[in-house]
Symmetry: C2
Subunit: 70 residues, 2 copies
DNA sequence: TTGTGACTGATAGTCCGTG
DNA sequence: GCACGGACTATCAGTCACA
């Protein structure tokens, strides 16, 4: 399992758990909507600071976004 | 504590725990020594795939590189 | 043994749109 | 509600000489 896909799946899972659409989520935290899409699909390779912004937006420690999927 | 500095300190700590100088570590894993230096100092903002390479080199899960420092 | 500034090609990240 | 594309600018990847 690729690290980018794992990251994307974790972000998608946590975002949906909060009942937020991609666009609403993106607007709310100043991230581009198409970029959120690309990251959730594992098609993008974001920098650490961007991953940190996702962690802040989702209110979880950054390490949790890299957690293994059972 | 900035996420980049935390990342850098974790990498440095784990590298030294393995008794490796930056240069030896860098050579061994095909990373430039000065690039290792920049990341350990928190002066660089690497992408996820680069962080994954460090995790592989140090033989730890990527999440561990983002662990909080006590 | 490591820190640092400067550099070039590659890609991160934004903004516009479509089905 | 989301995937995907094109075009664009800012920043990163990777390397070097030097201290």
């Amino acid at each position: 399992m690729d690290v980018l896909q794992r990251l994307g799946q974790n972000i998608r899972r946590l975002r949906r758990a909060r009942g937020l659409a991609q666009e609403k989520f993106a607007l709310q935290f100043g991230i581009d909507r198409t970029y959120v899409s690309g990251i959730e699909r594992g098609a993008r390779n974001p920098t650490v600071t961007v991953v940190q912004r996702f962690a802040d937006a989702l209110d979880v420690p950054i390490a949790e976004l890299f957690a293994e999927i059972e």
